[in-house]
Amino acid sequence: MTTWDGAAAAERVAIISDQDVVRVRQLVRTLAVAVKLSLVDQTKIVTAASELARNTLVYGGGGNAEVSRVDNGRKPGIRIVFADEGPGIPDLDLALTDGYTTGGGMGLGLSGARRLVDEFEIDTEVGKGTTISVTKWCR
């Protein structure tokens, strides 16, 4: 069982199959409960993690997620960093448009995940890969 003691505790999960998306989700849920996020916020961060983990798998060709507990001095939170070495995103604005998809999905994963979290950072380079960092703070 994972224990989350200390602010620096971080856990890395490789994302190479559908099962790993479930593992990321469970890990995020465990931590969300541990930092005492509200039920709504737990669900939001878990859902965002699910979307981004699947993007990492489907569009990034696999990668990893690092789930960590963060603290800004006033309140605790969760940060998840998804990294892949896939093809990158050529047009970020287009990718963040609701309903735009290059796969068979609904085109809401990336844009929806951004609305589900408090902080959303994306760093992508064509041919190099994509890193997305999301943070949810306790209210």
């Binding site: 479930v22 859902t47 979307e51 699947r54 999905g105 589900l116």
Partner: protein, 282 residues
């Protein structure tokens, strides 16, 4: 280090000459780790068979465990791992059971007056052989456990997707757990088949047991609803809890004109009202 055939036969002789001592000491070692979960007689039988297996492999001149000459021993070890895995022993306990042979053998080497450099070299080569055997046991154990887990996952898939008849003309699918593509496929097939079999015009998909509704889950549910509609059945989605509702809104998923309800009871009431109205119209 590979065993030479001379070393093999010398070791086999050593085994042959001290069969009872080896079996007794080996059984003793294993009994200490299994702490009474296996009867002494059972252990004794296993060690004496394994001991014979080792003896045959050594006598045959197998240079290492992966040689064809050791095939029978490998089969014995695989069998042992398989029973241990199913009996709930840990991988560690299973492998330690094989490692224990080294201790039993060391006692013998130390006891003998001829503990010269040659005997020690034999022992070291033999020790490497036992290491391979223990690692092989470990591998087999892990493989068998993985097979068990895969089997269970398959059984879960079967178990977790029932379609139940809730009322005359109303079937319900209570979804529990993660809805991945494989399960979504099973759910859709079962639901559509049940709609045909029962001639039901209404289906309720209850997602109370789904912990997170992301776009993939939503898409699977929407596709199922559309497929049911094509067959003339109306679908209602129930079990939308407050946190799920807020997440769906934030994600931007739209369920369009599909009826959604907070609870299964609400959904059933909704359907009954619809059918009730129709009856009055007639």
């Amino acid at each position: 280090m590979a065993l030479s055939s001379e070393q093999g036969s010398r070791l086999a002789d050593l085994f042959k000459g001290h069969e009872d001592a080896i079996i007794a000491s080996w059984t003793e070692e294993i009994a200490r780790t299994t702490r009474g979960r296996l009867s002494r007689a059972e252990l004794q039988r296993q060690t004496s068979e394994l001991q014979k297996g080792f003896q045959t492999a050594l006598r045959g001149g197998a240079p290492n465990l992966h040689d064809d000459l050791a095939a029978e021993l490998r089969a014995q070890l695989a069998e042992l791992s398989s029973t241990r895995a199913r009996q709930g022993f840990t991988a560690n306990e299973t492998a330690v059971g094989v490692f224990a042979l080294k201790d039993a053998m060391l006692e013998l080497v130390q006891k003998g007056d001829e503990a010269d450099a040659g005997a020690l070299r034999d022992y070291i080569a033999f020790s490497a052989f036992v290491d391979q055997a223990a690692l092989f046991t470990f591998d087999t154990y892990v493989r068998i456990r993985e097979e068990l887990i895969a089997d269970q996952a398959e059984q879960l898939l079967e178990l977790s997707t029932p379609v139940v008849k809730l009322w005359e003309g109303v079937v319900a699918v209570p979804l529990v757990g993660t809805l991945d593509s494989a399960r979504a496929q099973v759910v859709m097939e079962r639901l559509l088949q049940t709609l045909v079999d029962t001639g039901s015009p209404y289906a309720i998909i209850d997602i109370t047991g789904v912990p997170a509704v992301d776009t993939q889950v939503a898409q699977h549910i929407l596709k199922t609803v559309v497929a049911a509609r094509l067959m003339g059945a109306d679908c209602i989605i129930s079990g939308i809890r407050p946190q799920i509702a807020q997440t769906i809104v934030a994600l931007g998923i739209e369920f369009g004109d599909i009826a959604t309800k907070a609870t299964l009871a609400d959904a059933l009431r909704h359907v009954l009202r619809l059918t009730g109205t129709k009856r009055q119209e007639r």
